[in-house]
Amino acid sequence: MRWFLLVSLFSAPAWAFPWMVKHSYGSCAACHVDPSGSGQLTPYGRAQADVLVRWRTQPRKDEEEVPASANFLWFLELPEFLNLSGNFRYGSLIRPAAAVKFVPLLMATDLYATLNFGPIVAHATTGVGTYSTRAIAYSGPAAIAPLCDPSKGACSVQWVAREFWLGAKLADEAVMVRAGRMNLPFGLRNSEHTTFVRALTRTDFNIGQQVGLSAAYNSEALRGEVMGIAGNFQVGPDAYRERGYSAFAEYSISHSAYLGLSSLITSAVADLSTGLPMVRHAHGLFARIAPTEKFALLGEADFLAWQTPQQLDRLGFAALVQADLDLMQGLHLMGTIEGGHTGSGEPGPSLGGWLSAAWYFLPHCELRLDNIFRRNSSATAATFEYQLLIQLHLFL
């Protein structure tokens, strides 16, 4: 089973566009296999990626009923029960103030497969990733990390399997129950990797999958999911596995305004970051608003608490506000402000500002630039850093 090994922690395996609220897509289930969004697209979602997301200089030709790019590898038509797709993301991280100024990142090389047998859905992802010591620093408490020992040199390319679950659609597809390894339902599924809201709540869909049982509900006014977490079985020994629940519910105030609640409580005999028995809380609000068809505002604020059996150990928070502007179809300008505090004696919160641009220059092809300004706060000092992350993303 070694070939299932998970790595590639500095990775972004999927796209998730909370800003699709601009096009009245409040629910994610029509376009994504995961009923709460992110990851593999359905055939309908692949078509919309061509119709609504890709860059165009000329209006789309109406006679092209189903875009060719809706097929696997842009041309291969598959039987209805089989949905295959892939995800390749390569990044270059430029850190002018760091000792290593240029970090090439093979962020994702995943193959997605979904089998549909009537209401039954089976989904799995697998791929390869490269080891990165930086990943360890990011992941510490995260779901997956390489088995190899970084002190013994670079590790070889290894296999990655983030998701595998079996589900059933019920009640005219309004309800989906799933069992397996999946994303934790919590907050915005924003694709920036990694933001404080995702890292501190450990719900980054790049690395935060856990095994459990979930039920998702999607209607025109309300969507949500609750998941019982049995643990991340790719972390051992068992004492390090978190068990508990994660859930969100989002209400549609109008066709372009949504307000959501998230809640997560997990317990581990030994927390991955402290080694102590720990109950971890994250509870918060998130919102998606599209005042116009060209502009979306996304926001999330989470209260965090860590509790040992004896006492409340730490309090913290994480928050994010993002504005997404369509300069034209397929060309996005995004501004993000974020903050986070781990409650570990920092004199103040860590702060971040992102100025990003995403260009969907061809069907299922994205070129993205992230200018990331960070004030990282620790117990001993606050440091400032600027990073430029350039990504090429192909969604096969």
């Binding site: 089973m1 070694r2 299932f4 090994l5 998970l6 790595v7 029960f81 089998l115 047998f117 039954i120 089976a122 799995a124 997956i144 990390a145 390489p146 088995l147 290894q158 399997a161 595998f164 679950w165 079996l166 397996g180 390894r181 095994v211 079985f233 790719q234 972390v235 051992g236 020994p237 068992d238 004492a239 390090y240 005999v269 030994a270 991955l272 402290t274 080694g275 102590l276 028995p277 860590w306 040992t308 004896q310 006492q311 409340l312 150990d313 730490r314 309090l315 913290g316 928070f317 505090h341 781990t342 409650g343 570990s344 004696g345 920092e346 004199p347 103040g348 919160p349 117990a379 001993t380």
Partner: protein
């Protein structure tokens, strides 16, 4: 954040967090000539005190044995338990309590036993986490086993 924390703490009616007397308690417990040389840094990383800063190897081991902020009885009980379990937080072969009594650091492998340090606290402290499918193959096997009936039923269809 400090104000927020303070407000939340007040709301939750939790006790105060300063444990200024702990070094003195250790001094008295073991009849030491002076307080432990590391003082606050015995438990708090880089002398920074406050919520979530008890992260030195010795501090973590003490918390695993029931240490609670400001609670001297809990500190005494934790030290007794660590003495019984021969806890060695820095893995240098000298137990934490012996290092406290000798005036050496239980965090930095400075005991007479030498050693590289960095141990996990000894006694009942867990090994470091392992990652990857080697940690457990059960969920993966269950998942793919569950797919088999689907594939078989598919084949039966004309």
């Amino acid at each position: 954040m400090d104000r927020t924390s303070l407000l939340l703490l007040l709301v939750l009616a939790l006790p105060a967090w300063a444990s200024d007397t702990f070094p003195a308690v250790i001094q008295n417990k073991y009849s030491l000539a002076s307080q432990p040389p590391e003082s606050c840094a015995l438990c708090h990383t880089n002398f920074v005190t406050g919520l979530g800063t008890v992260n030195t190897p010795f501090g973590k081991a003490a918390r695993l044995h029931g240490l609670v902020a400001t609670n001297t009885a809990a500190l005494n009980a934790a030290l007794d338990a660590m003495a019984t379990e021969l806890t060695d937080s820095d893995g240098d072969g000298v137990t934490d309590v012996a290092e406290l009594m000798a005036g050496t650091s239980p965090n930095q492998g400075s005991g007479t036993g030498g050693g590289a340090g960095g141990g996990g606290g000894g006694g009942t402290v867990l090994p470091p986490p392992r990652y990857g499918c080697g940690a457990s193959v059960v969920p993966e096997l269950l998942f793919f086993a569950s797919l088999l009936p689907l594939l078989r039923s598919r084949r039966r269809r004309p």
